[in-house]
Symmetry: C2
Subunit: 119 residues, 2 copies
């Protein structure tokens, strides 16, 4: 269930323009036009980008007359961080174990221990 969400989030952030939009929203809410101003693409293109961010749950929007101010939803970052940290930790643990193994092999070398045994 979270998996599809994670795909949306990662693919939303895969685009540099969208990452820049997120970066700017981190400094404060902004409207579509304000967000579009620095880029040399049409405002429609930026509107699409924002929709992608919104669908990923990274951005929410309210209404202020004609304007639709965009707001960064920071909680989503937790989802990513959790995913990342989990596998980083696993990989690091594995690295530590390998390190320990190498040390051990250094002490009592070449007992011809079978290392792999695939089903």
């Amino acid at each position: 269930m979270t998996d599809a969400r994670l795909s949306l989030v990662f693919s939303a952030l895969a685009d540099p323009t969208r990452r820049d939009i997120v970066a700017r929203l981190a400094a404060g809410d902004a409207t579509v036009n304000e967000l579009a101003e620095p880029y040399d693409v049409t405002v429609q293109a930026v509107s699409k980008h924002i929709k992608v961010l919104e669908d990923a749950g990274l951005v929410s929007r309210s209404r202020d007359a004609q304007r639709r101010p965009c707001h960064l939803e920071a909680e989503v970052f937790d989802l990513m961080t959790k995913w990342i940290e989990r596998y980083r930790r696993e990989a690091e643990d594995r690295f530590r174990r390998l390190d320990a193994l190498l040390e051990q092999m250094d002490e009592q070398p070449a007992t011809d221990t079978p290392t792999k045994e695939a089903s």
Copy 2:
């Protein structure tokens, strides 16, 4: 310079199969065939996925006879974590400031402070 790299990493992880491959590599190195086994796509498709992960710097490969064992490069996660944490922190700080502002407004209300002044 890091920006293009970040795009590669995020878009690599936007695919659920590739995320699963990363998850499995976190538990230990594996060959292309081993990695391909659980999925119902061809080994060529998995080979492509691995290439994407490799281009993003998430995976490195050595050689063992015909086999090309894949190894998870955990350092790349730091790049992501740094990017994510930075903006999450900014957004949280902003949230805290807003909170403080609201409290302050509660104490001495309606001084008609101009809030916005663009350009």
